[in-house]
């Protein structure tokens, strides 16, 4: 598979938290929770930002702290921090998007009273002008709080530099995503999304360097794999795809993911921050351009229109919707999404999942996916 750079990125994606402990020897490590914390600010303060993405290991430490009808993303994030005794972070910036995350931040804070801790109160509506003003205001507040913590001023120049670095990262990831879509045989879905995942944990400069190598390699190689035969195009809807072996199942079925609205993919890599004007407003503008995210209110039809647009624009054959069990937000959206897709005659497969998926559940999902590909997509 590909270059050394690619291998390294994939390795990191599959053991991210161990790496953070190493990084911590050099820099203070500040995590954030999904979604929408402007990591650019954390980076500009000379700190190392990362995105906490839960664990697929069994839940034991956090079982008594959150009821079992909370989503496994929240439970497994809590498991990680409590289980690792906080070894891999110095602090956290919490984004509150739903009831679960709001409480999680309080429980977490009580558990680690000595660590740096900040809420990022992103607007939970992006429907009206007040959302832009508020996002920008929260960026200003976070900037000040980070300055206090880091003991240094964050200049506008620091911010522009950080924006440029992150823009470059997003741009490289988009390029790679396009190549993967064009030439699915070159790179599996799993590999591509692992590369994206690695960026959530790594030093951005290092990621950019490795990523550039991967993109150069992919550009050079793609001519050898022009043939798209045997693949079907699909859109993936949802928040996160976990455990990542769901991508493996899609790869086995020869599905080519050509679009998504995931927090851990398009919502993260699409759209850049403008590198002029007021930095907080520039971040707010990027925020408002992102794809729809279930817990954030806006035009109520976007729960399906985003997916429909992607489906048509990309000429996909089907939509897979990854549903995290006990995610209330998705629970409320799904029946209407399914209904609309039925009306449109678009085949949709719901994949209900948990971070702690058992082998049996995985095998069942595999069977369902295969059956769907055979009977609905007519693939053998």
């Amino acid at each position: 598979m590909g270059t050394e750079a690619l291998q390294r990125l994939v390795e990191i994606a599959n053991d991210p938290y161990g790496r953070l402990a190493d990084l911590r020897k050099r820099k203070k490590v500040i995590g954030s929770t999904l979604a929408d914390v402007p990591e650019e600010l954390i980076y500009a303060a000379g700190l190392h930002p990362f995105l906490i993405l839960g664990t697929n290991e069994p839940i034991s430490h956090s079982a008594a702290l959150l009821p079992d009808n909370s989503c496994s993303l929240a439970r497994s994030n809590l498991e990680l921090v409590v289980g690792y005794e906080g070894d891999f972070f110095d602090g956290f910036v919490f984004s509150q998007v739903c009831d679960t995350t709001q409480h999680l931040s309080d429980i977490w804070k009580r558990r680690f009273p000595d660590r740096y801790f900040e809420n990022f109160l992103a607007p939970r509506q992006v429907d009206r002008p007040s959302a832009r003003d508020w996002y920008a205001q929260e960026c200003r507040r976070l900037r000040k709080e980070l300055e206090k913590y880091a003991g240094r001023e964050i200049s506008d120049e620091d911010l522009w530099q950080s924006f440029r670095l992150y823009n470059e990262n997003r741009s490289l990831l988009r390029t790679l995503y396009n190549i993967k879509q064009e030439v699915p045989a070159l790179m599996t879905n799993r590999t591509f999304f692992d590369v994206v995942k690695a960026t959530f944990f790594m030093d951005r400069e290092e990621h950019n360097r490795l990523l550039q190598e991967v993109v150069d390699w992919a550009q050079g190689e793609k001519g050898r794999y022009e043939d798209q035969d045997g693949y079907f195009k699909l859109i993936v809807g949802g928040i996160v795809v976990e455990p990542p072996n769901i991508y493996d199942l899609i790869d086995e079925a020869r599905g080519n993911i050509v679009g998504d609205n995931l927090c851990t993919a398009s919502r993260y890599i699409y759209h850049d921050v403008d590198v002029d004007g007021d930095p907080a407003e520039a971040l707010a503008d990027r925020h408002l351009r992102k794809p729809h995210f279930s817990p954030i209110n806006e035009d109520v039809k976007r729960i399906y229109t985003d997916l429909l647009d992607l489906y048509r624009e990309k000429g996909a054959e089907t939509i897979f919707y990854v549903h995290i069990k006990y995610c209330e937000s998705q629970d409320y959206d799904l029946p209407d999404i399914k209904k609309r897709m039925r009306e449109e005659g678009i085949p949709l497969l719901e994949l209900e999942t948990e971070y702690q998926t058992t082998h049996i559940a995985h095998a069942q999902m595999k069977t369902r996916l295969q059956a769907f590909c055979e009977s609905v997509l007519g693939r053998t």
Partner: protein
């Protein structure tokens, strides 16, 4: 008896009359050129009242369904349509009602507009989004960021909320085609302020020993301030209620004879078990006096401030939107003021917004008060998640522990 005295209605009678009139108004709203807005129980409803828009609370209607034990049946209808059984029981029964039309009170009118304030919970936003799609009506999410303790941040939060309330006013003007009347809003807020103060006075009567009220009284009487605040009738109602309860307190009449245990309740009630719980507790000389939930409507509007600002400040700072630390302080304040000596902490499957903090809250409360607390999981409206024997045994065991402790002290 003079004629005047005969005319004076009791709070209970008034409750019935006011509810009847309110529903009648709502059902004939369109005939009178008025609009119907669905809203969440904690929301700046004063903006509607001052603009001839009748607020309807799907949550209240859901409570009626759950109390009449229709929860499981209505939920199953929705489960068959792809909704899961772990959503809030209010939402499940409301959506079930939309499909079946089944209601213990003849239903509620359909909305022209939906307002969801997320200070209470985030669930309501998603539930109302479903309704907005179904009825093809606008939804306005009044987004209230968590009321974190940093004073500078609070100022900015209020600004954001005020800005949104201006956006809401513009949306209401668009809906009705009428210019907004701020003088009328001021007047409405004054009524809300007075009613809220009286409502709080009523709740605070739990401080008397023995207490002339229980949480079950509060749960019945809170309905009026939820849906009629901002009106003079609501003020009169709570005045009448306070007078009645005060008279009981003056005579030393408590709801529980030989009151021994004065308990705090965490969370919403288990609606369909409400009476059974009251009777069980009573047999042990125990009474549940209060909870943060019923205090969610004791607002303190400041009529000298800009009306939108005082609305924003009150609605953003409700107990379900403060930090866990502050919420624990609020609960401890009730504990102290009402001299409580135990707590029943209910983890309500339906309500993540209130429940997810309860485990941690229990630790804080037991640590700070020195009294043991009982924690148990169930659902406020769905009997399928309520285990009768298990919960009854646990409550009894808990009360016996309290008795044991009391005997030791004595």
């Amino acid at each position: 008896m003079s004629e005047k005295v005969q005319e004076k209605k009791s709070a209970k009678e008034l409750n019935k009359i006011l509810t009847g009139e309110y529903l009648q108004d709502a059902r004939t709203a369109h005939e009178h050129g008025k609009y119907i807005a669905y809203t969440t129980a904690v929301s700046p409803v004063e903006l509607f009242v001052a603009h001839d828009i009748i607020p309807i609370y799907p949550e209240n209607h859901a409570v009626a369904c759950l109390t009449k034990r229709m929860g499981a049946k209505l939920s199953q209808v929705m489960e068959n349509r792809g909704y899961t059984s772990h959503l809030c029981a209010y939402a499940r029964s409301d959506l079930g009602y939309r499909v079946t039309g089944e209601s213990p009170m003849g239903g509620i009118p359909d909305p022209d507009f939906n307002l969801a304030c997320n200070a209470q919970c985030f669930t309501l936003t998603k539930w109302f989004e479903v309704l907005s799609r179904a009825y093809n009506v606008p939804i306005f999410v009044f987004d209230t960021p968590q009321w974190i303790r940093d004073p500078e941040a609070r100022k900015e939060i209020v600004k954001y909320c005020v800005q949104q309330l201006k956006e809401l006013v513009a949306a209401l003007e668009e809906l009705t085609g009428k210019k907004y009347d701020y003088d009328r809003l001021r007047e409405v807020i004054k009524y809300s302020r007075d009613a809220s103060l009286l409502y709080r006075k009523f709740l605070d009567m739990a401080a008397y020993k023995p207490s002339p009220i229980s949480i079950f009284d509060a749960l019945i009487h809170m309905a009026i301030t939820v849906y009629l605040r901002g009106t003079p009738q609501c003020v009169d109602y709570y005045q009448t209620l306070c007078d009645e309860v005060q008279a009981k307190a003056d005579q030393g009449i408590g709801v529980v004879e030989n009151e021994q245990f004065r308990l705090y309740w965490e969370n919403l009630p288990i609606w369909f078990k409400f009476r059974d719980h009251f009777n069980l507790l009573k047999s042990y000389g125990a009474n549940i006096l209060s909870s943060l939930y019923i205090h969610a409507w004791s607002y303190e509007f400041d009529c000298d401030k800009d009306p939108l600002e005082t609305l924003a400040e009150n609605y953003v700072s409700v107990f379900s939107n403060v930090t866990l630390e502050e919420r624990a302080e609020m609960a401890l304040d009730l504990f102290q003021r009402y001299s409580m000596n135990g707590s029943l902490m209910f983890v309500n499957r339906s309500c993540k917004a209130v429940s997810f903090a309860v485990y941690t809250l229990k630790d804080v409360i037991t640590e700070k008060t020195g009294y043991p607390a009982l924690i148990f999981e169930s659902d406020m409206g769905d009997p399928r998640f309520y285990s009768e024997t298990q919960i009854k045994t646990r409550i009894e065991a808990y009360l016996e522990t309290l008795q044991g402790r009391a005997a030791q002290v004595a």
